[in-house]
């Protein structure tokens, strides 16, 4: 079963990625030749036939073909096209040609023919028209040329994308709720000694991976949905989302993201062997209780042998369950008596786990730590024993002020961070929702603001974060603004 699923994921993604590269190369070759030769030239005609042929294969199978640009990434029918040195030049060329006309998205349906591709690509290699919107002008020229089966769209700005992503949020919310419910069922089954189905687990992990690949901002927003009573389950799902999102930023393949997600989702499965009285105890644990709790990584490894529905035990997930409390200096637990290889997946889960745990309200932690402080501590204090590279990538992903941080701005307004800045040099200027004005009045409709946007009058950013604060102090439910 596992082999089949793995192969399916690998095959579909790899096939689409390869086809995407082929289409990019064909578009590049055609546009180059259109710039050099007249339309009737054989080189141009051959290149156009190639575009038609390789898009036809995808259209016949998938029913549509979409090429979407997002920063330095290109997605082909929602699968990220892996670029290497061999095809990077063609990608840059095509991206530049699209950017001139402010196009970020091309979608073709099955009716498209070689005539339409010819007209479309000929228009692409022309100069953009002077005026308000190059995209609108291009759209009009497409209409005049009778191109009906190719649609273009803008490269969505982050603020726009966030405002328009209600549908994505709803999908993320559904995935999140389903994942929590499955984790709850599994943990309860393990506690009762019942068998648990790997098939449902697989579906959940794949759902999270797909959702993160589709819209990681919406999924990361979900991690602010914290339920005090369901902490163990929501925590597992949060760690899974954070780990998969980080894996995606690090360039993992879909199969690797699945393995990482599976381990992250069940990193705490061993806790189902810990008595609830110990797990939910408010206050310090005594020596014996601590001994039991600190055994949960070992329990986790053994319990994952019972995960049915896989052809073989999920070895990497088992290692993640075992190693997620270990530190790079081997000060964590389980204690190791010798230096050992410490898996990269486990290092990722260790960081995500610590971040989510420190920023959540738990039975023995009534006041969670502010997310930015937690990140700073992880980054600056080597005694915490986190992998420096992973922490750096995590900070880059979350921003200096992670999603869900409540901030006071220099204008006196209160805001909640909803997404990190898309510009890596502006990590300290995230996207926020203004919750209340300078006089402390709650806004009926919280406004979305990009803190890196300059004030047209002064040329400098209009708002700056002065400090972060505790949401409870202002009776703010962070997830109302983020998730």
């Amino acid at each position: 079963m596992r082999v089949h699923d793995d192969e399916l994921i690998r095959d579909t993604s790899a096939q689409l990625s390869a086809e995407g590269r082929k289409v990019l190369s064909a578009l590049y070759a055609t546009m180059r030749s259109l710039r050099l030769y007249p339309l009737e030239n054989q080189v141009v005609q051959r290149a156009l036939s190639e575009v038609d042929a390789c898009t036809r294969t995808v259209l016949n199978r998938e029913g549509k073909m979409q090429l979407r640009l997002a920063g330095d990434f290109v997605f082909f029918n929602d699968v990220r096209v892996r670029l290497d040195l061999g095809n990077y030049a063609s990608f840059v060329f095509v991206r530049k040609a699209l950017e001139v006309h402010e196009i970020g998205d091309i979608e073709a349906n099955t009716q498209v023919d070689i005539r339409e591709w010819t007209s479309f690509l000929s228009l692409l290699v022309t100069e953009a028209e002077e005026g308000e919107s190059a995209l609108d002008a291009f759209g009009q020229r497409m209409q005049q040329a009778g191109i009906e089966n190719i649609k273009i769209g803008p490269a969505a700005a982050l603020v726009e994308a966030l405002s328009l992503s209600e549908e994505a949020k709803e999908a993320a919310r559904r995935t999140y709720a389903r994942s929590v419910s499955v984790v709850k069922d599994v943990m309860t089954s393990v506690r009762l000694g019942k068998a648990w189905s790997g098939r449902r687990v697989k579906r959940v992990v794949l759902g999270i991976v797909d959702q993160v690949l589709h819209d990681d901002a919406a999924m990361l927003g979900m991690t602010t949905l914290r339920d005090y009573d369901e902490y163990t389950f929501t925590h597992s799902v949060n760690v899974c989302i954070l780990s998969v999102a980080l894996g995606q930023k690090l360039g993992f393949s879909k199969l690797q993201l699945f393995e990482l997600g599976l381990g992250a989702l069940f990193h705490d499965v061993g806790k189902s062997r810990v008595p609830l009285s110990v797990l939910n105890k408010d206050g310090r644990l005594d020596k014996e209780e601590w001994r039991i709790v600190s055994q949960h990584p070992e329990f986790g490894l053994i319990l994952l042998f019972d995960l049915h529905g896989f052809e073989e035990p999920p070895y990497r997930a088992m290692l993640q369950a075992y190693e997620h409390h270990m530190r790079t200096d081997f000060t964590g637990y389980p204690r190791v008596i010798r230096e050992r290889w410490f898996g990269f997946f486990s290092r990722i889960v260790a960081v995500s786990d610590a971040f989510d745990a420190a920023t959540s309200k738990r039975s023995y932690q009534y006041i969670p730590f502010p997310p930015d402080e937690v990140l700073r501590e992880m980054r600056d204090n080597p005694a915490r024993g986190f992998d420096g590279t992973v922490v750096k990538a995590f900070v880059n992903m979350m921003g200096i002020y992670p999603v869900g941080t409540v901030c006071i701005l220099d204008t006196g307004e209160l805001s909640v961070v909803v997404a990190p800045s898309p510009n890596p040099e502006e990590l300290h200027r995230p996207l926020v929702r203004i919750v209340s004005d300078a006089s402390g009045r709650r806004l009926a409709e919280p406004t979305l603001v990009d803190l890196s946007e300059p004030d047209p009058a002064t040329g400098r950013p209009a708002r700056t974060i002065v400090k972060t604060t505790d949401p409870d102090k202002y009776s703010i439910t962070v997830s109302d603004f983020v998730a």
Binding site: P297, I302, E312, Y315, M318, R338, R340, W341, G343
Partner: protein, 104 residues
């Protein structure tokens, strides 16, 4: 242990076996001894890396039963397994002493 684990590199395999030994304790001896000294289809032994990892894991568990399995493996002619059995029997302090200094 299946093919998936055998596909991983030796360090990852060893990490898994060590983790298993620490987590399972003496209860893991049965499985590990089967991997170290047992026979598979057509009377073949398990692949050398798996046997070597199993030997190291038995060394971690220690005790009379684990030692008996290591004794059996000591008769083996596979150099990888023999080396692993030797390492499994070497106390940690000696292993550290055998390691060259970082500066040398």
């Amino acid at each position: 242990m299946g093919k998936e684990l055998q596909k991983r590199d030796l360090t990852e395999q060893l990490a898994f076996f060590e983790a298993y030994a620490e987590a399972a304790g003496p209860k893991g001896i049965k499985l590990l001894s089967r991997l170290l000294n047992g026979r598979r289809f057509l009377w073949m032994k398990h692949p050398s890396p798996v046997r070597a990892c199993a030997a190291r894991a038995l060394g971690i568990i220690g005790g009379k039963d684990a030692d008996m399995e290591l004794n059996v493996a000591e008769m083996d002619r596979d150099p990888m397994v023999l080396s692993a059995v030797h390492k499994a029997r070497t106390p940690e302090e000696e292993k550290k002493a055998e390691m060259p200094d970082a500066g040398s």
